[in-house]
Amino acid sequence: MPFNPQTPGDVEQMLATIGASKVDDLFDEIPKDLRIESLAGIPDALNEMDIGKLMSARAAQDGTPLNFIGAGAYEHHIPSAVWALTTRGEFYSAYTPYQAEASQGTLQLIYEYQTMITSLTGMDVSNASLYDGGSAVGESALMAIRAHRRSKSQRILVPTTVNPFYRKAAVSTVGNQGVKLEEVPCPKGSLSIADLEKYADEDVTALVIQQPNFFGVLEDVDALTDWAHAHNMLVIASVNPTSLGILKPPGEWGTKGADIACGDCQPLGVPLSSGGPYAGFLTTKMENVRQMPGRIVGRTVDMDGKQGFALTLQAREQHIRRGKATSNICTNQGLLVTAATIYLSLMGPEGLARVANACHARTNELLAALARVKGVKVAFDRPRFHEAVVQLDRPVAPVIADLARKGIVGGFDLSNDYPELGNALLVCATETRTREDIQKYADALAETLKAAVRAA
């Protein structure tokens, strides 16, 4: 047992104090026939040297391929300071800041995070984070139903331009409560008011708008927001925080702004890491603050009138409200919020705008390079940010497999989720891709497609 400090002498003294003759006696309230003697399926212990070798070999096996996928998780430059600070034991090994006097560091950091994220989204209040961007859409839907007291339908419109992984996670989150998430087909690659007209006279609680949408296309958020409000729906925005360095914040969409804005903090200093841990963010207007799920930090004063921070509005939460809580959530993704707050502090308004611009420029360069490849066509000729759909002249899966053999992660195959788009591939280039990377990808794709023609 590698992490136990008790010496045999300690054990003896401790048992004497307890009045037990052996450690096993301490388990005498457990029925004998339930006790186990062996865990044959667990391998022998490895010391740190050996586990280090094993993990290094496993990590090396996966390598560091050249990545051109986004689809909700983006490869960005992560400053060294972000994780050097985040993994300090005082952040890394602390618990939820319930004991406020002993947790002022985490509490103040969350207050700073709430400030930054509400300013980015143009909203009034933020919680301390949710699991990820997918579950955030689900929690936003439940919150919209609580906030929109005049709507009785519990129907939420979710266009197919919303990330399909987010849609699936949201359906799993709300499905058991009678909430209906209804898909709105968007054949043109973006949501248009024509796609929504058939809901004009119906009781619908909210409309979800993703900006930029899953295909990287920019939705006409002003018109959509005003249309939804005119038809008595709330607006839930699902947004990429990097894009908010240059794009209009949801709080300013249309005349009144979105009602709820959510998304994923992953682009803000959080590594791709096979899908997590990330952190979902959730922001809203002040009038809805009590409908928010999850922790919220407020600034107050102590007995001497000195500034301090504490969890507040806790009466919404499960540890007090139990079955009547706004959600069963009792965690946030604290460590990732720490990383995101440090990242945003290092970037500042100008750094973040530069990252967004660089992503935009790189993606345009990528599309220009791919458009020159025989057998590749760029889909949806509309304003876009950050990523885009290309269509190939043959099935995507074998092409991706061949690119993988060349050390290139060539994009996300859309043919399972969007068969109507044909042989479609979602590609992305962030500020981390160089011109040389882009050329390498275009050359490799040309070669793969050419070889496929020859083989046919």
Binding site: R290, A315, I320
Partner: protein, 128 residues
């Protein structure tokens, strides 16, 4: 010792009921209840027009560490929620039987099953 005005009616769930001159009822929570909850930070008052069944929860009172439902003592329709509580929830603490009223209600029938002040006092004593 909590204050239990003799001219009001009560419920076992610690609501008080006052009959107004027009026959409507004013409802709040008792001095005992506000004391047990501690400093209130939020009161969710019902919207006018809503019809309520006896025993429904019609409001939520929140302190820092607790939240509690407030129950409808007599069936009826909400005439008015106390709007002042949205900015001053502490009125429920300072004036539980006055400015801290929570809603006014037009009863759909004659009130029944309510406790007198003495009966409510006995109920409190029994609850310990």
């Amino acid at each position: 010792m909590s204050n239990i005005p003799a001219d009001l009616k009560y419920t076992k769930s610690h609501e008080w009921v006052r009959t107004l001159s027009n026959g409507n009822l004013e409802v709040g929570i008792t001095d005992h209840a506000q004391g047990a909850l501690g400093d209130l930070v939020f009161v969710d008052v019902p919207e006018a027009g809503k019809s309520l069944k006896a025993g429904d929860s019609f409001a939520v009172v929140e302190s820092v560490k607790a939240a509690s439902d407030v129950y409808v003592p007599v069936a009826g329709a909400v005439v008015e929620g106390n709007a002042a509580l949205s900015s001053q929830p502490e009125l429920v603490n300072s004036e539980p039987y006055g400015g801290g009223w929570i809603m006014r209600l037009e009863p759909s029938g004659a009130p029944s099953g309510l406790l007198s002040a003495a009966e409510y006092q006995a109920h409190l004593d029994a609850e310990g």
